[in-house]
Amino acid sequence: MNPTNPTPEGACGTPDHISRRTLLRLGGAVGLAWLTPVSRLLAREAEAAPKGRPARSVIILWMAGGPSQLETFDPHPGSKTAFGTRSIRTAVPGIGLAEGFGHLAEVMGDVTLVRSVVSKEADHERAVYNMKTGYRPNPTVVHPSIGAIVCHELADADMDIPRHISILPDQWPARGGYFGAQFDAFQVQDPRGPVQDVANPLARERQERRMKDLGVVEASFGRGRPADLDGATTLHQVTMARALRLMGSDQLKAFDVQQAPASQRAAYGDTPFGRGCLAALRLLEKGVRCVEVTLDGWDTHVNNHKLQGARVGILDPAFAALIRDLKERGLMDSTLVLCGGEFGRTPQLNPLGGRDHWPSGFSVALAGGGIRGGRALGGTDPEGGKKEPRDPVTVQDIHASILHTLGINPAKEIKTPVGRPLALSDGNVVRELVGG
């Protein structure tokens, strides 16, 4: 229906991704004659496969609710803003982390902190949108999140499972925006259990009979309609073939962390988030482009120190184990890890011992993707007097920098469905951060 439907070759969930061979095999075995036009549509798959390009992927550790910079990556022990928060030394002299980050401190040499992120959004929903897309909410258009951009811009070899995944999604998981719902993150819960809606308990012949029967109904709907109805408009049969392929794929095992060695699982921590980080690593090894893993509970308007500390206890082992494993597997340069939330928290404590929303100087941590580690850029006023941080970096600048490390030109303009061209990011690449 929509002529601007942007499904370039090699993007997530496009027809190009369905293996022609699998489909033909499927078609032969099940007698899915009605699916063959689809397989013809996929004949370009071999040509579309990229050659000799290093895989590039992103893991986003999403700290939902807004972590306190003061109790995580930007502690000011002994200052007016600390209210008792202490700092620990790390492997990098001069860079301290808040108490509780014992594991991350050991791998600090691979991590770079940006302690001066600023935005104009202090409401959760708007700030999440801002942080995930690099744009402020705008009723004219829905912007794609980083993962959707990466999937859209970087061609891929053929695979069974979706390449944009959100583990433990909260109410605002990463979206495809103007690229379309087929670029939305594929959502999965705690990877301890099976992936939802993928299990098919039916006996093989019953499933095959259903698929054959469906061909009869599809044929009757197709009468009097354009021959390329499915490929050009509905994508119904195309996505169904993809779903079938996913359901039968060995790659699904990547989601199941129970198959990883016990020692590895222990390193990430016995938590849903820890398992999510391990699953992210396993998915990346299969070729997934972007995984978002959410750790909720940072919105500490009450009892800030205790609640933040509990979250740190979950984040610390998982983040550190992920960096170690990426390094050990030689994936560090081809993977960018970003850890952060929608905003930070106020330097002052409120009467309930909580910290409120603070978009004017908060922290994110980055690792891998060719970014030199062991650094801390920018900083906030330890006494909380000055609102503006030193060397402020905007949210859109973070986005531009991430795209840059992935070899994507942030200024590239996309013609959106409403007809207006938009840059992938309107920020500037922070040279100090990415080098070059």
Binding site: A122, G224, M240
Partner: protein, 579 residues
Amino acid sequence: MPCQETVPDHILMADAPARATVSSGGMRPAQRERMMPWVRNAVFVGCCLVVAGMVAGRLLRRAPFREPPPVTSPAQQVAGFQPVSERVDAAQAGEWNGAGVTPASRAPDLVLARRLSLALTGTIPSLEEIRAFEAVRPEDRVQWWLSHLFEDRRYSDYLAERLARISVGVENGPFIVYRRHRLVSWLSDELRKNRPYDRLVRDLITAEGIWTTKPQVNFVTVTIDQNNKEEGPDEQKLAARVSRAFLGVRIDCVQCHDDMFGDRWKQKDFHQLAAFFAGAEMSMTGVRDDAAKPYEFRYLRKPGKEIVPPRVPFHPELLPEEGPLRQRLAAWVTHPDNLPFARTLVNRVWALLYNRPLHQPIDDIPLDGPFPPALQILSEDLVRNGYDIRRLIRVIASTRGFQLDSRSEDPDHPVAVEQQKLWAAFPLTRLRPEQVAGAILQSASLRTLDGDSPAFTRVLRFFQENDFVKRFGDIGQDEFDGFGGTIPQRLVMMNGELVRERTKENVFANAATRIGVVAPDDDTAVETAYLATLTRRPTPVEQRHFAGRLREGLTLKRSGRMEDLYWTLLNSTEFSWNH
């Protein structure tokens, strides 16, 4: 037991529990008391089954209901809409002629019933409704169906949710001071009374008081920044909503700078509109107006803030000179001569019915045209008839264009893109998630799931929170994106809980099982399943194929075969698309 005599033969032969009922029917009370609990249960189950069978059996009969459904003559209910539909027909025929495009033929009546149910209630017709629809004289069916839907609570509930999305969006908004569901309920009550649209909008723009007792106030309070409550309602967000939702202009694009794509709007146009909301403040008694509070803004490349006077961006002559600011603004927005207001509603109602707006983008209609002729004709009629939403729906639904098929009768010359563009064939569009959920639930019941049914209400009222809708992927406010289906959608339909629960063996809850039990023969079972899911009868090929499936010597139980038939129909393109 009286039911013994009235149960049709085919139900008695259907299965064991029914026979058990019959055999225990003649017992004396004393005997009954001695019955073992399981026997009592069997009797209870059996009785329920027989009653269910009677209802289902009646619906399954091919013959229509004996008593005619309550049809008031369309002419009595609505006067004078037909000439307007005909003017639209003439205008569209002119466009088709000019472009050398042949329109598709008229869609079958049942297709029209399905379209209208999906558009106006968010679900498909029930088998019960289909029987009633077909009992009406063919020439009266569409008008009767519209009257039937308008009187249904589902209509006002569904339209209220759609209008709420336009006026306050889908955000949960600021906790405590915002109650979205109150606003939706209020809208639904007003739509049920068919309150004129201009009055609804005036209420929203001028609302005062507490968001719980005066639900329309939520239009204002949704814009409050939770972190900055003392700042009160956000004038800029309100101005953006008013211009987009009610006037079909995107003045908010010039919030930060003058128009860069044309010279129509200046930055001050937006902020002068926002200035009408400057006085709206939070007080102990909810939203109130403080007439003395000015709106201040620092324009681009200006040294400092200045007081911005309230002014409207076009048709200044329609703005009342006296009165409180928001009242003046509301009067201007809804002024009969302010045609952009009427055009915006026409475009939205058109989109509601077709699942595609007449002018795209839906909220960016040029003030000076050119307009599609239908937009002009319908807008003028809307104003003349006091912003009567039901009349507008009736006029559009009665046009030849709306009643065209989405396919060609000649398979060798399928529908072409050009035909769809010019509305010379009904556009094929993806159903919204809540429409799919509503259709699954309805197809699992032979009776109509109306507004009082808990399952249906849950899907509609809370479709934002609904697990199925979430997994299927709520499209939020970007209503008409024109994208195709997705993998998670196929997974949730193929393997998800909702479809599995509503198609598996359950003779009380699921139509799939019941049809298999009470249908007199396999052909009827197949036909009934098609009517209940796809609102049509099977083609001869389909009929032969699926009746054969029910007959063939498989080890699978009959309920399992009916489940398979239902699964297949629910997983078809046809089920998930509006056509």
